[in-house]
């Protein structure tokens, strides 16, 4: 009987460990995506650091397209100020998105970025972005939301267009 008990606990331990492993997959995938730049996760660096590290490459021009998406339940107006910019790698650029809360309630939103093609995402560094934090807008208010970025000059030559898309989600806490 003790033999059964030992075997039982050994095997039960495997199941418990695997339950934990299921949860461990979540950070593991994040680390994996960060290393490989998969899933459109962009880099983030400091503005002063960016100008210090990168040498602007004026011989190359890359088109950056800006896209705004709404999550289905998001009633705000949300659009980029310009649809595209011609940029040189290594140089710092600033643009902005415009958001307007058209409802009668104060709301909070979170923008989630994504870069296509995925191969470009690890070279796309933001120094300032409205997506770094949640954005609050009072009822009817309108806001320019800034975005500052630099493209790493090491970006592969075959990439000539980079598309930056934001999806805007409603994260307003329901009043209890």
């Amino acid at each position: 009987m003790t033999g059964h008990k030992t075997t039982f606990f050994k095997i039960a331990l495997i199941s418990v460990a695997m339950f934990g492993f299921g949860y461990l997959l979540v950070p593991l995938y994040d680390v994996f995506c960060e290393i490989t730049g998969l899933n459109g996760k962009t880099g983030q660096i400091d503005a002063t650091q960016a100008t210090a590290v990168y040498q602007p490459d004026l011989t190359r021009t890359i088109t950056v397209q800006f896209i705004a998406n709404h999550n289905a339940a998001m009633p705000w107006e949300f659009a980029p100020a310009v649809n595209r910019l011609q940029v040189h790698p290594g140089k710092l650029y600033t643009t902005h998105y415009i958001a307007q809360n058209q409802t009668g309630n104060d709301m909070t939103a979170q923008a989630v970025p994504s870069v296509a093609p995925t191969a470009a995402s690890r070279y796309f560094d933001k120094t300032e972005c409205f997506c770094f934090s949640q954005q609050h807008l009072k009822a009817g208010a309108r806001k320019q939301m800034p975005l500052q970025f630099v493209i790493d000059p090491k970006i592969p030559d075959r990439i000539q267009t980079v598309t930056l898309a934001y999806s805007l989600f409603d994260v307003t806490q329901p009043a209890n």
Binding site: F8, S15, F21, G22, L25, V26, Y29, Q110
Partner: protein, 521 residues
């Protein structure tokens, strides 16, 4: 605990016998009966699906209900029918095949069975709640699955209970096999059904907890404000697919490995030759189990993986065809130049080999990443997994029931009806699922209640096959019922060519299988 093995006693009387039983045969019968009931309820749902798809347009049910039919049909058939049926067979056969008196942990055995009726009552009760049953497909992808109304937590807890049940069942199987084999029965002398179940049990304890984790994350996303899968909170819905299929792909082998064991037991009996390549069968099973852990993303080729990822999962998936091919060739070699007879179990086993291989081939087609972009989420996928699950897993279970039913009941079943059941089922199941390959290649998406008119003809043919297949399973119920009530007495060996310890016991076997360990040659 240990007293049960020593004294001789029969089963208790009355209904409480079944509630309190710790006997492996009683629990095996309960599992099999439960699986049969779930098979019939899940089958009735399939009939609703095929009736709605009989013609284009919305005829019988509204789309939401249709979607919950496809979802719950899958959940019932996978977790309620095939898995409990295999566990039932394991309960009945493993102690008899390794020369043990009972399972190692009889009370745990009772508990793991009795969780199931509660789990599935809870799942089915969601149909009577606000918003109806789950309608997101059995994979429960968020954010769609999170839109389910009042029934959501009931569905999640039903999956938890069913998962706990199969984990405990598997632990029991492993402890029994590792600790209770008769003296002389080394691992490499075990019947293949025992081997395949041992490996299946390891797959279950490794993957069911991951599913439990995934659905728990869904639960906390909905009710506790976490955002594992919500992009707004920094999560990612694709993450769910990775976690789910990390469970989901080993799961499909959980549903087929015991079937390999069953077929490997039946073929030698009716070919009157020993199994060809026993040890390669064991190694092939183990390799399939190992590979099943590194191929999950072939279910999600279209989520936007990098090319390297697509290629890795494509090649790894194709590699599974190698050990599976070894098995199929071994089975064919076992039959080669044997003196074969075709009693019902043999018919189902041979049918299994042919039709499972068809499903295997369409699986190979799906494994080709660039081609999968066309096949993904079409009826081609539906045809593929029904060939491997209906004419694969379910056929093997039917073969097993016909093969061991005389041993269990002491009566021969009606051979004429059994053969009739096989032929009607086999013809109708092919009329049912083969046209779905054509529908899928032509672009008909799965999980839709209505379709464009060019798909009308094959859908009607498929539905007709479905109705015949569904009704012919009532024959199966009748044949089993008849054999339990009476019939020609079965001998101890039952089949002329049957080999193995279970055939040395009387038919029906004593309440406690082996009180004295048998000698193993």
């Amino acid at each position: 605990m240990s007293t049960a093995t020593a004294d001789h006693h029969g089963p208790a009387r009355g209904l409480m016998r079944w509630v309190t039983t710790t006997n492996h045969k009683d629990i095996g019968s309960l599992y099999l009966l439960f699986a049969l009931i779930m098979f019939l309820i899940g089958g009735a749902m399939a009939m609703v699906i095929r009736a709605e798809l009989f013609q284009p347009g919305l005829q019988l049910v509204d789309p939401q209900f249709f979607n919950s039919m496809t979802t719950v049909h899958a959940l019932l058939m996978i977790f309620g029918a095939v898995m409990p049926a295999f566990t039932g067979l394991a309960n009945w056969l493993i102690p008899m095949q390794i020369g043990a008196p009972d399972m190692a942990l009889p009370r745990l055995n009772n508990f793991s069975f009795w969780l199931l009726p509660f789990a599935f009552t809870m799942l089915l009760s969601t149909f009577f709640m606000n918003g109806g049953g789950p309608a997101s497909g059995w994979t429960l992808y968020p954010p769609l699955s999170l839109q389910m109304d009042a029934g959501f937590p009931f569905m999640i807890f039903a999956i938890h209970l069913a998962g706990i049940s199969s984990i405990m069942g598997s632990i029991n199987v492993i402890v029994t096999i590792l600790n209770m084999r008769a003296p002389g029965m080394t691992l490499m002398k075990m019947p293949l059904f025992v081997w395949t179940w041992l490996i299946t049990a390891y797959l279950l304890i490794a993957t069911m907890p991951v599913l439990a984790g995934a659905v728990t994350m869904l639960l906390t996303d909905k009710f506790a404000g976490t955002s594992f899968f919500s992009a707004a909170g920094g999560g990612d819905p694709v993450m769910y697919q990775h976690i789910f299929w990390f469970f989901g792909h080993p799961e499909v082998y959980i549903l087929i490995l015991p079937a390999f064991g069953i077929v490997s037991a039946i073929l030698p009996t009716f070919a009157r030759k020993p199994l060809f390549g026993y040890s390669s069968m064991v190694y092939a099973t183990a390799s399939i189990a190992f590979l099943s852990f590194i191929v999950w993303a072939h279910h999600m080729f279209t989520v936007g993986m990098p090319v390297v990822g697509e290629l890795f999962f494509m090649y790894a998936t194709m590699m599974i065809a190698v050990p599976t091919g070894v098995k199929v060739f071994n089975w064919i070699s076992t039959m080669w130049r044997g003196s074969m007879t075709f009693e019902t179990p043999m018919l189902f086993a041979v049918g299994f080999i042919i039709m499972f291989t068809i499903g295997g081939f369409s699986g190979l087609m799906l494994s080709i990443a660039p081609a999968d972009f066309q096949y993904h989420d079409t009826y081609f996928v539906v045809a593929h997994f029904h060939y491997v699950l209906v004419t694969g897993a379910i056929y093997s279970i039917m073969a097993a029931v016909y093969y061991w039913l005389p041993k269990w009941t002491g009566h021969m079943y009606d051979e004429r009806l059994g053969k009739l059941h096989f032929w009607i089922s086999t013809i109708s199941v092919n009329v049912l699922f083969f046209p779905q390959h054509f529908l899928g290649l032509a672009g008909m998406p799965r999980r839709i209640p209505d379709y464009s008119v060019q798909f009308a003809d094959w859908n009607m043919i498929s539905s007709l096959g479905g109705f015949v297949f569904g009704l012919s399973q009532l024959m199966f119920v009748w044949i089993i019922f008849k054999a339990i009530r009476g019939g020609r007495k079965a001998t101890d060996q039952v089949w002329e060519g049957a080999q193995g310890l279970e055939w040395t016991l009387s038919s029906p076997p004593p309440y406690h299988s082996f009180n004295q360990p048998p000698t193993v040659r």
